[in-house]
Symmetry: C2
Subunit: 417 residues, 2 copies
């Protein structure tokens, strides 16, 4: 079988965004040859003394050593005075590598700690790539000194490229707003071209801000926004062993600290953070393996938000819905099927299904105004909105996904060789 | 887009089995032109007075009118003295058709009741095909008299063909054993080429026996075996609005009634019933849309059977596992991923993964004896066994699935047109 080429996704943004500098965050990327040749594959980030760090991680019971290590470090006692660091490699996930996996994490983070003079407990690592292969630690540690010597506040875009695996474009997003006494910036980079495909398609996200926020407050603000952003996207329903989202706040903006979650600056920060998270999450979907359609699934009228999420994900993950979208077939019967299998409370006779502004089905049957030609024409668009109103309550959730195409199979049928 | 052809699945059995006659069960099939041209699409079954009927049905909250009707009739008071009947059409699911759906069921079952002199409460119906289109009731009722006039005890094989939709082969299975005073036969027919794909790929199963068993006992024996058979197969994780399994016992074998579930005849009947159910379930997987591999997933050592089921289904439904199998890639890392995402209790360092007899991973890492060439050679087989031992408890479950190929997308991307 020929290896499939990876042309840039047709759903990619026109260009990588301009990212503002985050005072207190510096980046360096290099080529360690972990697996790939002729490209960067390791990124080092140094975060200034006083930086708060928060994170959310995969719930997989077979999660990678680096994820377990990050979780342990974030749960431990925090001394922010010495700063922090993040090191990421692509090409090897260091997952399901037994006790050697933790030893590899210790070597890599120890090497960074030595080079930067930061305690190892404040060095966070991620690895993304093939599962079950030993991490070639020496290749990574061999370039750490070099990276440490050329850290650059303008290096975030290079970092977005170095962490790519099957991604067809680098992913970045930014937001700025006026804090209390100075402008606050938020910058994020991400990789992922399944939500969630394992092997070379883990989702990794790093967000940096110069806002000053204590770790516990930062974690609360991050956790509160995950369900509406990264947990609201899906490419193929599979879950990586290595998914990680780390948020670092350097506190160097000059604006006053954000302490009260109900204050105007906290609300502005929350809004900016959610905008960056949602932008990156949607970019991951836009780079979904083989994707040709960007699909928004809006569920309203559910008994509660959890039911709305169940219905939205049942639709977004249904292979039959996704293949129909790939074929530009307005097959709303498959949406009915997905609602039915979701396990959420539903009543056939209260269900309304819309594609864009068109009502396709209502009151338990095809809508009187249903027009197959119009519905088919709508399916040719690149950005589709599937609306489902359950007519039961106030629960709502919007999720994003892509279609299921032949290229998904090409990419995944013979990945390792 | 060209309509894909439907060549017979490469996993099909060599031939349709010889089915013994079931005294008290007669079949007739005809061409009503519900949707298809030039083939049979309606089957009528007459069941003799005294027949007990049991059933299990989809749990979809948007289930079809015929399913709701069968469930209501089976839950109501039973008078077996007048016999029973089953009528099935392919080509239209009569699902999500509002109140007209129930009216259609009433017309069709009423027509059968009139023709056969059986109360409508004992006439069960199924419809399989496109969702949301009104059922052309008159085309079906127009041939009921004709079918009633040529009922034939040898008609089960023809019935298996008439209920097909996207199926590429007709599905039948049988078992016989010595009851207490006579031979007891069990015959089953089924259609389905997703478990579970809606539209034209609902799963319908009809099993007939000449054993004499009271309705409640029959239902218990049926329900006890569904989890290990039809609930242990999956093609694409989607759930039909119309799945139905009806079991009818005519009581005409001449053998003594089966009343005590612990008796030898009850155990023999249970064994034969499970054999027929498993055979039909596996045939549905073998006709999975686009399938080229028959995959058995055996999970052992789980904390309990429910956890074993979760792990087995997470593996069997993973698009990444299924595309790797299609590509004959021994990508056991994706099995690790699926275990991790299943939600079941798992411990990386106790996990063992086998493909056939080969141990690929154990003790939290790739097995020392792992041989990529041997693993790759194994993947070329048509029948694959993926074994996962969680090393935690005594929970176990085996499920069956197929691979995910380009033909699945061809078949489903433009189904309706």
């Amino acid at each position: 079988m020929n290896k499939p080429q990876n042309p840039v996704s047709p759903l990619a943004p026109e260009r990588f965004p301009d990212l503002p500098l985050i005072r207190g965050a510096e980046f360096a990327s290099g080529a360690a040859g972990v697996k790939y040749k002729g490209r960067t594959d390791v990124t080092l980030v140094r975060l200034a003394p006083g930086t708060s760090v928060a994170g959310v991680f995969t719930r997989s019971s077979t999660r990678a050593a680096s994820v377990l290590d990050c979780q342990a470090k974030l749960a431990g006692p925090v001394d922010s005075s010495a700063g922090a660091a993040i090191i990421v490699n692509s090409g090897n996930a260091n997952a399901f590598t037994g006790k050697a996996g933790q030893e590899a994490v210790d070597s890599v983070t120890g090497s960074v700690a030595n080079a930067l003079g930061i305690p190892r407990e404040r060095v966070f690592s991620s690895s993304t790539g093939v599962i079950g292969e030993p991490l070639p630690v020496e290749r990574i540690t061999a370039i750490v000194e070099n990276l440490a010597g050329r850290l650059d506040p303008a290096g975030a875009a290079d970092a977005a490229r170095a962490i790519m695996t099957t991604d067809t474009f680098a992913k970045g997003a930014a937001a700025s707003f006026e804090g209390d006494g100075g402008t606050i910036n938020i910058v994020g980079i991400a990789k992922g071209s399944g939500m969630i495909a394992p092997d070379m398609a883990t989702m990794l996200v790093y967000i940096f801000t110069d806002a000053q926020i204590a770790p516990r407050t930062l974690q609360r603000m991050l956790s509160a926004r995950v369900d509406r952003t990264f947990n609201a996207i899906t490419v193929d329903s599979d879950t990586s062993t290595s998914d990680a989202l780390i948020l670092a706040a350097t506190g160097q903006s000059g604006a006053a600290p954000i302490t009260d979650l109900r204050s105007a600056p906290a609300r502005a920060f929350g809004k900016g953070l959610e905008q960056v998270m949602l932008d990156l999450a949607q970019q991951v979907v836009r780079d979904g393996e083989g994707a040709t359609k960007f699909v928004e699934v809006r569920v309203t009228g559910a008994a509660d938000n959890a039911d709305a999420h169940r219905v939205a994900m049942a639709i977004a993950n249904s292979p039959l819905v996704k293949t129909a979208i790939a074929g530009e077939d307005a097959n709303w019967g498959r949406v009915v099927m997905a609602v039915g299998k979701s396990g959420a409370q539903a009543d056939r006779d209260r269900l309304t299904i819309r594609f864009g502004d068109m009502v396709l089905a209502e009151n338990g049957w095809r809508a009187p105004a249903y027009d197959e030609a119009k519905a088919s024409a709508y399916m040719k668009q690149e950005h589709l909105v599937i609306g489902v109103d359950l007519g039961l309550g106030k629960g709502r959730r919007t999720v994003w996904t892509c279609d299921l195409t032949h290229r998904y199979i090409d990419i995944n049928a013979d990945y390792r060789s």
